[in-house]
């Protein structure tokens, strides 16, 4: 019995050691890859800064346009329909709930995420990629993460708009059925 325990202890220890070595190996590979990227970045500094500045400008323009479109869906469509449903004393609870979620996602997620992403990208662009390539690289990594978050909130808004549409179709069907 003690021998079996010993055997299992040995296997367990070996597994931990192997996992640690694999972990160290992976993190070294990531570090090496990051070092290579930093070096490449240093050599392409002007090109990179220019394309990031262009991206920043087009993102702001897109934010204005897409933000307008998102808000229009809420202000000009969801809210008036909900008001009309209430005025006609019909049950549109589910639609109201989705509309509220949509507005909250816009205000608390999309709006905030864009602000954070934009600040991160503009702060990165203030770093000299020739003199501080490592900091510049970290700035890009941070901006990428913030952009991913922004992308997710944008997708969430779209999915809520689609959910509202589904709920509306069901509501409409019910209305027509009741009218017959």
């Amino acid at each position: 019995m003690p021998q079996i325990t010993k055997k299992y202890t040995f296997i367990f220890a070996a597994a931990i050691a192997a996992a640690s070595l694999a972990g160290i190996g992976t993190s070294r590979a990531i570090e090496e890859s990051a070092d290579t990227q930093v070096e490449t970045m240093k050599s392409k500094c002007t090109e990179l800064t220019s394309s990031l500045s262009q991206l920043e400008r087009s993102d702001t323009l897109l934010r204005n346009n897409i933000g307008d479109a998102y808000l229009t869906v809420s202000k000009e469509l969801m809210v008036p329909l909900n008001q009309r449903i209430a005025a006609n004393q019909l049950d549109g609870g589910a639609l109201v709930e989705i509309a509220a979620k949509y507005k909250d996602t816009y205000d608390d997620e999309f709006y905030v995420d864009f602000k954070e992403y934009e600040i991160s990208l503009s702060e990165t662009l203030k770093i000299s990629c020739r003199d501080q390539p490592r900091e510049f690289y970290e700035g890009i990594t941070e901006s990428r993460d913030k952009r991913k978050k922004l992308y997710r909130s944008s997708k969430k808004i779209i999915s809520l708009a689609q959910e509202y549409k589904k709920e509306y179709v069901a509501f409409k069907k019910q209305m027509i059925k009741d009218a017959q």
Partner: protein, 122 residues
Amino acid sequence: MPEEVPTVVEIESVPIKHAKDHKLLILVFASVVISLMMVTVSLYLYSSTGAEQLDLSRPGYVDARNNDGERPKAFEGFSPTGDLDKAALNEFSDLYDVKLKEIVDIDAYNADVLSPKSLGIE
């Protein structure tokens, strides 16, 4: 011995300048201080509310603003008043489908743009 006559020295009264004599100066100074405070507050709000990030009038955004082209016609939207009959329901469907398509079609803020591959630093 002649008596010494005490000399009377007439002291001219020096007018003391009070604050009320500098009304104009104080007014100008106070106006400058108040406007500086208001500018500070508005700049703080400008940057903290996220308005700065959306401002296309910033230097360097002139091209982006000009490329925006003509502004699309104002979207009428759905009326919040009236009956909710079949025609109204169909009208809403049409309006909603147009806007939904508009937001679904744009793949906004895909993170791939900042990937090492896209940036050419792989």
